[in-house]
């Protein structure tokens, strides 16, 4: 009899389950760590990019009154009156500044209008407020008559919104025409394109510089290759800030390169190299080069020299043999390196921030700007989520055409 009895099968299943449980317990700490430090922040970012309850919390009654509004003329007196009461209350609770910020984001120039109006409405007594709240508001600023403003307020009052994604894609929603391209400022799409372009240039440069070096290293005896590999890795081990600042010293107007070129008389005037996209590309290529060299080198090391010899014994000249035999065999390393460099550079922040100036800024710098300066976390989250989606999309395209299984890191 070759099959197991029920009892034996049960025991085997028990033993297997026990092993699985043990294995799972070993993984639990890492799992918790990843959940807390990686999955949770990303989830919170995605959540924040669509969830925006502040305005709804500040002026709940006005928003519910606005539901009756036709959207074409100035809202009726009752709505304005409700808003005046709520503004009065916010002014007393010192929350009108927050409302001013939110309105300003939805409708440019509203910051001072809201603050001034809040002061005027705030001066009214309780009875005056009930009697002439709406009129005081309209007297305070003519913007309160504009239906566009109320449309913007209505949209800002939505708890769940995709408006930040529209902003991040340089779109806006219009009361009549619906979604359309924003007319005044178009920065984000342009910035995404620029970021992708720069990442592409950096990846290409890394490949062009890294491939010959990795090829040379892979042909050396082990001990010499290891020594030279240390030189490749040495900048990798120095602080990122040190390396970036070194580029500032090299590239600045009175820096090493300009002084040298002036000294030998090649140029008559110093070039503006620092605070340009050129500076960003150069410094980032330098910083990311090891990410290209390492996978390339490890793949090339694994390629037996007999492949090239075989090609030559079959009659191929060195160059065709390289192109048809050796190069395809290094593709797993090349694509791994390219993917690494590209994805890292798309999201790079510190180097463009330090050497890029305004010209060399990338998308992550504008995300940081919205996090730290303009305090528009929702927009920052939307921009970040789009970047994440973009990278996943690129990875998918890459997987479709190259195959992720072809990646080889070592």
């Amino acid at each position: 009899m070759s099959s197991l009895t029920t009892l034996e099968a049960g025991q085997a299943a028990n033993a297997r389950n026990k092993k699985r449980l043990t294995a799972f317990l070993f993984v639990v700490p890492l799992l918790v760590f990843i959940l807390i430090t990686f999955v949770a922040p990303i989830a919170s970012m995605l959540w924040r990019s669509v969830h925006h309850p502040i305005v709804a919390e500040l002026i709940p009654q006005t928003l519910s009154e606005l539901q009756r509004w036709d959207g074409k003329s100035t809202p009726d007196r009752q709505t304005l009156q409700t808003f005046a009461v709520e503004l009065h209350k916010l002014n007393a609770e010192r929350l009108s500044g927050k409302l001013a910020e939110e309105f300003n984001r939805a409708y440019t120039g509203m910051s001072s209008v809201v603050k001034a109006s809040a002061r005027r409405v705030g001066r009214l007594s309780e009875s005056q407020l009930q009697a002439e709240g709406a009129e005081t508001l309209l007297k305070a600023h003519k913007n309160w008559e504009k239906p566009q403003l109320w449309f913007a307020i209505q949209r800002a009052g939505q708890v769940y919104t995709y408006d930040y994604y529209l902003t991040a894609l340089d779109l806006e929603i219009h009361p009549e025409q619906g979604i359309q391209v924003r007319e005044d400022t178009q920065i984000y799409v342009q910035l995404y394109t620029k970021t992708l372009n720069m990442a592409l240039v950096i990846t290409l440069l890394c490949a062009l510089l890294g491939y010959p070096l990795a090829y040379y290293l892979s042909g050396l005896p082990e001990n010499r290759a290891n020594l030279l590999m240390v030189l490749v890795l040495l900048p990798f081990w120095t602080s990122l800030l040190v390396r970036t600042t070194a580029w500032i010293a090299l590239l600045q107007t009175n820096g090493v390169i300009n002084s040298f070129l002036l000294g030998i008389g090649v140029i008559g005037q110093p070039y503006e190299m620092l605070y340009t996209s050129f500076a960003t590309v150069v410094a980032m290529t330098h910083i990311l080069l090891p990410f290209m060299i390492l996978p390339l080198y490890s793949v090339m090391r694994g390629i037996d020299p007999s492949y090239l010899r075989a090609a030559m014994s079959l009659g191929a000249k060195p160059l065709p043999a390289f192109a048809r035999i050796y190069f395809p065999m290094t593709l797993p390393g090349l694509s791994a390196g390219a993917l690494l460099v590209f994805i890292i550079s798309v999201g790079y922040y510190i180097t463009p921030a330090l050497v890029g100036g305004t010209d060399g800024q990338m998308i992550s710098n504008i995300i940081a700007f919205h996090m730290q300066r303009s305090n528009n976390w929702e927009l920052a989250a939307a921009l970040g989520s789009l970047l994440l989606g973009l990278i996943l999309l690129l990875y998918w395209v890459y997987d479709r055409f190259v195959g992720a299984s072809n990646i080889k890191l070592g």
Binding site: A310, L314, P320
Partner: protein, 368 residues
């Protein structure tokens, strides 16, 4: 089949030397003439210079001095891709990103042959190695033996003048190796190409080759057909390297036309064939193959004789190995067929072992 008496000048190595470090020679004065269609094996321990010779012929290593001639024309300055030499590598070196068909078509594509000719050739060679149904697979999807056959077909498909094989069966298991030896022999006889085959496996060399060049320390010790190499080794190294050898120390007592008399260290006098020890008084080693040494009663008193004590026996299967020791401690091995003649011996039993003079040779004796 190779015509051994034919023109030997098809491939020639003349005074070929090779050094890597400009201090010591890896190959010291290599000379070899190969006839068209011959199957030559370079045999030797690792580091003996045999692979270096192959690489110089293929063009992957420079020749330090000397000449390599193919059809009387020096190839030392010709690039490897222009030499028209096929090569089978130990690790196959099949291009992993190409299917079998693409692998086989590669040398023909380089030579810009017409498309339908390439297709026909690829079909022909795939069926030659019995892999016609596997043409669209990648090398990674094949077994070791199948890959080896593809490598062989790829090295042959462009009809090279010479095919080099660098330990081509080294990565296969024993059974497959024997099968492939047969396969290579079959193709060689069928297509008649010239083969230079490198191996360190003596059985492989003996069963396949027309001639074998035995290498040691960068020097060819002997180059001869397998039976000559086995039965008439030129020196002690060859006798030791090819097969097994019993070695009795002695001194040349007298020299005849074809034979010499040797006084063994235990005082006995034996007659043996003349080899590379020909001076009276010269120390020598009498070399006898274990299967030629037998129990005295079998020869009926004819031939040479030596006394030895039985030590142990090893049961191998088709034969039995008996281990003996002479009075001065020299170990002797007798191979006896596993049949009714296999004697039963008791421990330390004193036995007379005998052999015919024509089954032994007086070879050199290295200075201890």
């Amino acid at each position: 089949m190779a015509d051994l008496a034919g023109d030997k000048a098809f491939l020639q190595f003349t005074n070929v030397k090779k050094t890597y470090d400009h201090k010591s020679l890896v190959v010291k004065d290599f000379n070899l003439d190969v006839a068209k269609g011959e199957f030559i094996t370079l045999l030797g321990p690792s580091g003996s210079g045999k692979t270096t010779c192959l690489m110089m012929l293929a063009g992957f290593e420079d020749v330090t001095s000397g000449e390599i001639l193919i059809n009387g024309r020096s190839v030392t300055s010709i690039a490897p891709y222009a030499r028209n030499i096929g090569m089978v590598f130990q690790q196959y070196a099949l291009f992993p990103h190409m299917t079998l068909r693409e692998n086989l078509a590669y040398p023909l594509k380089i030579r810009k042959r017409p498309k339908d000719e390439i297709r026909a050739k690829v079909d022909e060679y795939l069926s030659l190695v019995e892999l016609l149904d596997f043409g669209n697979r990648y090398p990674g999807q094949l077994s070791g033996g199948q890959r080896q056959r593809v490598a062989l077909a790829r090295a042959l498909i462009f009809a090279p003048d010479i095919v080099l094989m660098d330990e081509p069966l080294g990565a296969l298991d024993k059974k497959l190796r024997e099968q492939m030896q047969f396969e290579i022999k079959r193709l060689h006889e069928q297509l008649g190409f010239t083969v230079i085959y490198v191996t360190h496996d003596q059985t492989e060399a003996l069963t396949m080759s027309d001639r074998i060049a035995v290498f040691n320390n960068g020097i060819v010790q002997q180059c001869a057909p397998p039976h000559v190499l086995y039965e008439r080794p030129a020196n002690l190294f060859v006798a030791d390297f090819i097969g097994e050898s019993n070695k009795l120390k002695g001194v040349i007592e007298s020299v005849g036309e074809d034979s010499v008399q040797v006084r063994l260290e235990d005082g006995g006098l034996v007659s043996t064939l003349k080899a590379n020890c020909t001076e009276v008084g010269q120390p020598t080693t009498v070399s006898i193959r274990p299967e030629k040494l037998s129990f005295n009663d079998r020869l009926g008193g004819a031939g040479n004789q030596v006394m030895a004590r039985f030590v142990t026996r090893h049961y191998v299967g088709e034969y039995i190995r008996y281990h003996f020791e002479t009075a001065d401690g020299t170990e002797l091995v007798v191979k006896n067929m596993n049949d009714s003649s296999a004697p039963q011996l008791s421990a330390k039993e004193e036995v007379a072992l005998a052999w015919l003079p024509q089954d032994s040779q007086a070879l050199d004796r290295p200075v201890a």
